[in-house]
Symmetry: C2
Subunit: 771 residues, 2 copies
């Protein structure tokens, strides 16, 4: 397709939107947000259609189906257990929120929380969990079918795996839009909430989704790495049996891990990113337009990110049809096929969103489109450099491979140095993107809206990029089944090719996830600043009402000022103030403490698995000679229980810290806390993800026959790197993204509560100490 084609197609997609926008006058007329419901249905129906297609394909021979069933059962057992634990957590938090928002106002006479919060919180968690559940359901059914299809051809294997990945991608965006649509329509037409107050309420379901995502990522990450390490250490190293061997009691748990970690965890994670970026942007749009007195424009600023998301769904669906190759496809042509799909969708979205901005807000606001494009480009840059630093096609990982010659210590030093170095470009990219998006959108309040739009732009292609990401674990599982069912080694080679292809696209996907997390967190930070003013009832104070140009907002904390910006008061939080610096310090240390907890959790859970596998080998000597069946379920259960127990403390850290800091040091310190956690967490997350990715690929590169190949000393050194990298890249690293956003959302939701309690404490201190 040429530029002309794209432009034509894009205007066709965008035309109805533009037409309706032109007709729409203020709050009356046709509400464009109905389109979100339609977009959601389109995504979900497409997912349903593809799911049917995947399920119709051949599930292979009896042995394959049996293994797949083990994995399914293990995965479901895990999810049941997880949802039980998480359910308790959600019920407790629901009651707490309910108490604060429904009961407390009757006692204190002050409203600290919107009455919709408890319910919105639950729905966010529910849909996030559902996205992970559906994705995992289809992935565990697609694994044997992919293995079977791969025994026909590489291309058939790709299709089944990619289709199941697409089911996941479409489910995530579909459910995300569904939740948005339901709440928007309910609040607007049933509860008749003023339109500019709708997005802040919707942020609450962002908090629910984030909490769920953190549990899913952490629990899944701990599970999968515990099973992986346990299976490797005892099975491969001690007993000397190959990977994915059916005699290894932990092998089913290992394959289950791919699903609960890389599929269910990732699904919940990206659901949260997607919904979070859209609601944060909507909220900032409402603040900007309403604050500046452009009341009739509010709805259009709210609609913009949602409509871009809807158009992106259609573009993604079209893009998936372009992922096809000839039967004799090579690895390279396969990658090209995937990229054609992604890039076509991207181009379509870029063109179509131009018309949407134009139609909704007119040509003078076209800078907002530029902000969005900045996000899209930044996502691609970060994605590219993620691949550059972790793929064995480039210098950094090749150099890491060389360090294996001098043993594991130099591999570790080299990998950590690589990860640290790889943080520079993403940070610069985010910095330039933030400043660019801010100024393209006109600076000030709309500038922050522009930063949010950049995040929306970056994540708009999620429907298809997630598909290219999520099919990797399916291919991985298919390989495991091929091994355990003793299929032709050629099948394993094909699934390995698919898996390795998946690694490349997953690296790019990780770049998008992490970049969008930073931008979304920035948008949430800005929204939090606004919520502080709102909680202090200073948000609607206009210039004329003040004698002097600023007010020293004692209530907020030391050295905090309200400053005039475009006729509206905004918050200025002085970074040079000790209380603010204190918040910054605490924020910066949190991702480290959090990572320490999650890595420690992997270690402990893995230890339990190691002991269980050793026990089974010891007590049932028939296992190793293939005469006894190992107790797979017991291993699954050990990993499950371990993961559930271990995920609670770090999650509580994320929720309790911002509230506690807010109560003790005030909201100004919380702003700094969030900023500190954002910058240090962003850097740490990239470092851990890229160190881990590079170690993984360095090991695979050596296994492909370099540096003496498998079993030699350099390989052993590389295996050490890979093992260290596992919790880095699959547990701690990705969880940090969620941690940052969850803390922001918690701060936003509890802003009234913390400010109220902080005031009580300040008064108490003043009474006791007299100052």
């Amino acid at each position: 397709m040429t530029v002309k084609h794209y432009s034509l197609l894009a205007s066709l997609i965008a035309f109805p939107v533009v037409a309706m926008a032109q007709n729409q006058s203020g709050n009356g007329g046709f509400d464009l947000m109905y389109l979100i419901a339609l977009g959601s249905l389109a995504a979900l129906m497409f997912a349903w259609f593809l799911a049917k297609k995947v399920l119709k394909s051949d599930a292979g021979n009896e042995r394959m189906r049996e293994i797949s069933k083990y994995i399914q059962e293990g995965a479901m057992a895990y999810l049941r257990q997880q949802y039980k634990v998480v359910g308790i957590f959600f019920v407790v938090l629901f009651l707490l929120l309910g108490f604060i928002s429904w009961v407390l106002p009757g006692i204190t006479g002050e409203r600290w929380l919107s009455p919709f919060v408890p319910v919105a919180f639950i729905t966010g968690g529910f849909f996030s969990g559902l996205a992970g559940y559906i994705g995992m359901r289809i992935a565990t059914k697609a694994n044997c079918r992919t293995a079977q299809a791969a025994s026909e051809s590489l291309n058939s294997g790709l299709r089944v795996a990619f289709n199941s990945g697409t089911v996941m991608g479409m489910t995530v965006v579909g459910l995300g839009l569904l939740d948005l649509a339901i709440w928007y329509l309910l609040l607007r037409y049933v509860f008749i909430v003023p339109i500019h107050e709708i997005p802040p309420i919707m942020i609450t379901f962002g908090m629910g989704a984030s909490a769920m995502a953190l549990f899913a990522r952490l629990g899944g990450g701990i599970y999968t790495k515990a099973a992986d390490v346990g299976a490797d250490l005892v099975g491969k190293v001690e007993a000397g049996i190959p990977e994915d061997d059916a005699r290894n009691p932990a092998t089913i748990a290992d394959n289950v891990g791919d699903n609960v970690g890389d599929v269910a965890g990732m699904g919940a994670d990206l659901y949260e990113s997607y919904v979070g970026s859209i609601v944060a942007t909507m909220a900032l749009g409402a603040v900007g337009a309403y604050g500046l007195g452009q009341e009739e424009q509010v709805i259009r600023y709210i609609e913009l990110p949602a409509l871009v998301a809807v158009v992106a769904v259609l573009a993604s669906i079209l893009g998936t049809f372009l992922v096809r190759t000839k039967e004799d496809a090579t690895q390279k042509t396969l990658l090209q096929a995937l990229r054609t799909g992604v890039y076509s969708s991207t181009a379509l979205i870029a063109f179509a969103s131009f018309f949407i901005v134009w139609g909704l807000l007119g040509m003078e606001k076209i800078g907002l489109w530029a902000s969005m494009m900045v996000g899209l480009v930044a996502g691609n840059i970060i994605g590219y450099f993620t691949e550059y630093y972790t793929s064995d096609h480039y210098k950094p990982t090749r150099k890491l491979v060389e360090t294996a010659a001098t043993g594991p210590a130099t591999v570790i030093i080299g990998g950590i140095a690589l990860g640290m170095q790889s943080t520079a470009i993403p940070v610069l990219t985010i910095v330039i993107a933030t400043i660019g998006a801010y100024f393209f959108a006109g600076g000030g309040l709309f500038g922050l809206y522009g930063v949010g739009l950049a995040a929306v732009g970056m994540l708009s292609t999620l429907g298809i990029t997630l598909a290219t990401d999520a099919y990797g674990p399916v291919a991985d599982n298919a390989g495991g089944i091929a091994e355990m069912a003793h299929l032709d080694p050629e099948v394993r080679r094909r699934t390995d090719a698919l898996d390795s292809l998946g690694n490349t696209t997953a690296a790019t996907g990780k770049g998008f996830a992490i970049g969008s997390a930073a931008l979304t967190a920035l948008a949430l930070l800005a929204e939090y600043g606004h919520k502080i003013l709102e909680a202090l009832k200073l948000d609607k104070v206009h210039q004329a009402e003040w004698d002097t140009a600023f007010v020293h907002a004692e209530e907020i904390g030391y050295d905090t000022f309200l400053v005039l910006e475009e006729g509206l008061y905004a918050l200025s939080i002085n970074i040079l103030n000790p209380i603010v610096l204190a918040g910054l310090f605490i924020g910066a240390v949190l991702p480290f403490v959090f990572s320490s907890m999650s890595m420690g959790a992997v270690g402990r859970a893995a230890q339990a698995m190691v002991e269980e596998v050793r026990r089974q080998f010891r007590e049932k000597p028939g296992i190793l000679v293939g005469k006894e069946t190992p107790d797979y379920a017991r291993c699954v259960q050990i990993s499950t229980v371990g993961a559930q127990r271990e995920m609670i403390t770090p999650s509580l850290l994320a929720i309790v810290t911002p509230i506690l800091v807010g109560i003790l040091l005030g909201p100004a310190a919380v702003v700094a806390l969030l900023a500190g956690a954002l910058v240090s967490g962003f850097v740490l997350a990239i470092m851990m993800a890229n160190s881990g990715g590079a170690w993984d690929n360095a090991k695979k590169y050596i296994e492909a026959g370099h540096m003496g190949g498998k079993g030699k000393d350099p390989h052993k050194a590389a295996v050490v790197g890979d093992t260290v990298g596992d919790p880095f890249k699959d547990t701690s690293g990705p969880s940090i993204n969620i941690l940052i956003k969850l803390m922001s959302m918690v701060s936003i939701v509890f802003v009234g509560t913390t400010i109220g309690l902080n005031r009580l404490i300040v008064e108490l201190v003043q009474k006791i100490f007299g100052f």
Copy 2:
């Protein structure tokens, strides 16, 4: 001694000070700053006296003297080469500074830099280098003497080693006070600079000292670890000869490394910390008193930190006399002896400084004494927890030892998790100390002065704590000599005991160094905020001169405000502004990129060493059977050249980044840059130091016979951890402390230059793009 004794002794020390302060009226009368010169002389004379004493003791047999001479020559060769490279750097920067401060004002008509800056910069660098040089000189002469003394008794060995450490400690504080005294007296009585303008000029020699310290730490750190890894990998692992064996060509380089890294590097580093904390505090005192119109008090605020330092010198000298034990001393009684010395000095300083504050500023300002005490206590807390996390007497390292059972990967994961976890308490301690010191000192401008005083308090005991720290490498070297000279194994056991004792006290010392770095950086940050105002000529604008209560300082950057504080305008930099957040992001990533560079440098330099040792073994097969002498000098040279080459780029990063960010994004972004680098660097430095320390001690614990002892698999796994930990704890970690402060000082010194260039760029952009 009891509390009564301390109090008596302290008032005896403080009495003359108080008496003179009472007599002193304003700027007239006896200038108390002459006392600094006296304090400096006392420290230097005591150092000279001890040095004589060390040199008089028996240097051992011919073989020992010969080995010691090799080490001396290697160390001097290194320092010659280092000072050559650093000399070029200093000359270039001197010319650049000279051009900006002497030539440019004639062209542009604007003064961007004080005319004293170029010379002050050079003296700071010179004295910092000199402190390292003298410390190393005595350490390399004390090593064989310690070995000889240890062959008599453990106690004799301790005395020689501790005396040489004391020479170093006293030299550092003596030279620090000397530089302060010379510049103060010159500026005041020769150049007749107004008294409140003196401290900001003196910060320039802080910059010189920091630059020198960074070179010394980085160069020394790279050297020592390259030699260490090279010696271990080829000698111990490949050739199978024991540690410190004379047949290993890298063994002399390894022993030289202890001196250039742990002695010369640490000396320059702590000189920088010491001087930096004092001048930063003086500057803040001047800003506070002068700004608030208390002109006649300015000198007293400047004198306070200096006088505390002088009293601390006397207290430290007294403390060293208390470090003595009976002849049959055990490890435990030795530690007690050291602690008696340190704690007695600490108590004396605490009592004496109470009288100094009282005498100088009266009872109503006694809160400043509390600020200082907060620093002392915080230093002890951080020091204690550094020991807790890294010593094998406590749970964390014991648990780390257990992870060795499952191989190197779990050791690495466990060590990194331990390091990350260990960051929480130091951060909380610094946070509480900062807030405490700020409020005890009365908040506002004096509050920041209080934070500086906390740093001064923390470092006041440096004379003696550095002694307990610096004797470790001497004992380590003595052990090497004992080994190479084939002395009785009992001697090696004794030096090992001394070395291990040194590890414990060094851990505490590290806690002080890192804690004081954070507090000093905070003080420098505040000073930078003031310098911005000064550069914009807004610093002396009082309330009456303004119509409205604040001014939007467009020149400084977006969203920056001047706010009223105690009648004086201060800077408020809004953390919610995108440009400020951009600075925060860039600051947070710098310590990571910097660490990546320094770790990569160690890797490359070690690689060169490995190849050289292999070459020698290959080309001179007689070496291994003891028939040929290895070419020690060649190994020394390789490490030297490697270290020099590698230290340039990271150092430039520290200097160029704040200037570049200032020019492109303005000074508000630089404030955020410094804050971001401070919080993320502080956390990263603690993590690396403690991970490294714990790995080191875990290995030693296993070598002491646990987990199967030396040579077994757990030991091999622990060795991997130790090797990874080496660059963590001895190269990257400690350099980050200096990086943070150097960046602050560079920002302060170049504030006029960067603001000037930033304005030019902003004007240019406005001309071209019309906005």
